[in-house]
């Protein structure tokens, strides 16, 4: 009722109308004056968006401003000791961990996505179960993954804290990420591609690997990059699986600490705030780069 009355009350002066349905700023302002609730909602909405972006900018700015002066060349030396808590070994371990995890998670993730999209029959029971389990996997907190890895690999398999135990745990953790993005990428490949390939006499396998997968590559890549982000930032799942030894690993059965775990150790020891700042900067820069790369790939993908 209120809204209807407002329309009736509006005095329309034809001289003021400039475009067909464009309001001038003054018109907007007077409209808002008559609708205090609308004005309030507008302000609240804009404020929360500002707040969200503000928090992000403040977080990044604070860590960069306070952290960059603490980045010193000795933090990138080969040897870690209590005098010089060098982060280079942890950075190398992060690379190992990422590589080893992806080595396991990417093939399995892509293959199972291929099964779900290209092979399984519609409405198959297996597909439903796999969907539910991947959703469950996505919801499990990283500390539970860590505990599982500890119970199964560290204790159950008698491996002790090892790079391998950490990598398998993380591989299970990022599997749903890779699966889902690959599935979406495969689904977005038009069916005509497949039909064309079948029509030329190619088998299903050939169609998948020669026709469908290459067209889905950008989407799959962005999923892998998302997974890398998770691996680089993970702490809770690694403390009790890969351990906290701060030297560069020489084999998959060595105990290692990744950069994020390194940061946790520095913070819990409480003696190395400056170095923790520096580590935070390095971690943050890694995440920024990872996000930028995935953004670029996504852009390329949508342009096509």
């Amino acid at each position: 009722m209120e809204a209807v009355q407002n329309v009736e009350n509006k005095k329309i002066n034809t001289n003021e109308i400039q475009g067909i349905n464009k309001q001038t700023f003054a018109q907007k302002l007077s409209a808002y004056k008559r609708q205090p609730l609308s004005l309030f909602l507008l302000i609240v909405v804009c404020l929360s968006a500002l707040l969200t972006v503000g928090v992000l900018l403040f977080l990044i700015g604070y860590i960069l401003v306070n952290g960059i002066p603490n980045i010193k060349p000795e933090l990138f030396e080969w040897e870690y000791n209590t005098d010089n808590v060098s982060m280079l070994p942890s950075m190398i371990n992060t690379l190992y961990m990422t590589g080893l995890t992806l080595l396991m998670a990417v093939p399995v993730g892509i293959f199972s996505a291929i099964y779900m999209v290209e092979y399984a029959k519609r409405g198959s029971k297996l597909v439903k179960i796999v969907r539910t389990t991947t959703e469950t996997l996505q919801g499990i907190p990283s500390i539970v993954y860590g505990l599982f890895g500890y119970l199964m690999f560290v204790i159950g398999c008698h491996w002790g804290y090892t790079l391998m135990a950490g990598a398998i745990t993380l591989a299970i953790m990022v599997l749903p990420v890779i699966m889902r993005t690959t599935e979406e990428a495969l689904l977005s490949v038009p069916d005509s591609y497949r039909e064309g390939s079948f029509g030329l006499g190619a088998g299903r396998l050939r169609t998948v690997f020669v026709i469908v997968l290459p067209s889905a590559m950008p989407g799959i890549f962005s999923g892998i990059i998302l997974a890398i982000g998770r691996i680089v930032g993970e702490t809770a799942a690694l403390i009790f699986t890969a351990g906290t030894v701060a030297t560069a690993a020489t084999g998959v059965m060595d105990s290692t600490r990744t950069l994020a775990v390194h940061m946790y150790c520095l913070l819990s020891e409480g003696l190395y705030m400056k170095q923790a700042y520096a580590t935070a900067v390095v971690l943050l820069v890694m995440v920024l780069v990872i996000n930028a790369v995935s953004g670029m790939i996504a852009k390329k993908f949508t342009k096509k």
Binding site: V45, L56, T235, A236, L283, V287
Partner: protein, 285 residues
């Protein structure tokens, strides 16, 4: 011809096995966590374990009630902080944001999701904790600090789900409201938003799951006292931080009790996941 047949069959099997890996993983996780945790809970007695208010591993007292309460308080606080801001921000992104601004805002939200939790924890430790200390006194590590921290951390989750469910509402709702004389804001809030209700609720539940499972950031800012909190300005220990704090040196029944803590956490998460899929499924119909 025959060769291609064989490879076709082999690869089909490989794909099938890969698809089953996630089922195997969930089964293994359930088996290992429950098989190790449930006997410990039985040994301590389920009632003592779940409702006991004393966590004194040295005296063989394992009551995780303070941690359950701690997790619930911190989760409620995080939701209270994160959900309103998240939903409003999602509304802004879906209905108020100019196209050019959106191109900047969307990656910013994704970045917020990508920041590792340990970095959030560090930020909380060096910024929010001192701020709380100067505002309310004490150590600055309390429920409110943890709630603010977690509220920030779940923003991207809630914004993402809420935005897509707002966008999924047919334009005719919005246009109909405008046609009846509603302003842009009224149309969005009273016609579009109620229609996106179930999607937004699903996002909130997803956010709750994230908060309950969050470990590293909470350990840094929540204070970690294993006692019943009496005011929001007291420190708490959550289920997750209980595990991460003591697992390193625990042994015997103490270690088993920690795995029992994980069982309780896991059951919470399974309930949350189930209700998430139930609501999501309902929204689809």
């Amino acid at each position: 011809m025959k060769k291609s047949h064989v490879s076709e069959g082999v690869m089909h099997a490989v794909f099938l096995v890969s698809a089953c890996v996630s089922i195997l993983a969930v089964a293994l996780i359930c088996i290992f966590i429950f098989a190790n945790g449930v006997p410990a809970i039985m040994k301590i007695s389920p009632i003592k374990f779940l409702t006991g208010t004393n966590w004194k591993p040295l005296e063989d007292q394992f009551g995780i009630f303070p941690m359950i309460v701690g997790s619930i308080y911190v989760t409620a606080g995080g939701v209270l902080v994160g959900v309103p801001i998240g939903i409003l921000c999602a509304v802004f992104m879906a209905k108020f944001c100019p196209q050019k601004l959106y191109k900047v805002l969307k990656p910013a939200i994704e970045l917020l999701a990508g920041i590792p939790s340990i970095v959030y924890g560090f930020f909380g430790l060096v910024v929010i904790v001192p701020a709380m200390r100067s505002l309310f006194g004490g150590s600055g590590k309390n429920i409110i600090t943890a709630s603010v921290m977690l509220g920030i951390m779940i923003l991207p989750t809630i914004i993402g789900v809420a935005e897509s469910s707002i966008r999924a509402v047919p334009d005719s709702y919005y246009e109909g409201a405008l046609g009846l004389g509603a302003t842009h804001e009224r149309a969005v809030f009273f016609a579009v938003l109620p229609a996106a209700k179930s999607g937004i609720l699903a996002g909130v539940i997803l956010g709750i799951g994230r908060v309950i499972g969050e470990t590293m950031a909470v350990v840094m800012v929540a204070g970690n006292q294993a006692t019943m909190p009496h005011s929001p300005l007291e420190g708490v220990r959550t289920l997750t931080s209980n595990i991460v704090l003591e697992m390193g040196y625990a042994s015997g029944l103490h270690k088993e009790a920690l795995i029992g803590t994980a069982v309780v956490l896991f059951v919470f998460i399974l309930i949350i996941n189930l209700s998430f899929s139930a609501i999501k499924g309902k929204g689809r119909d």
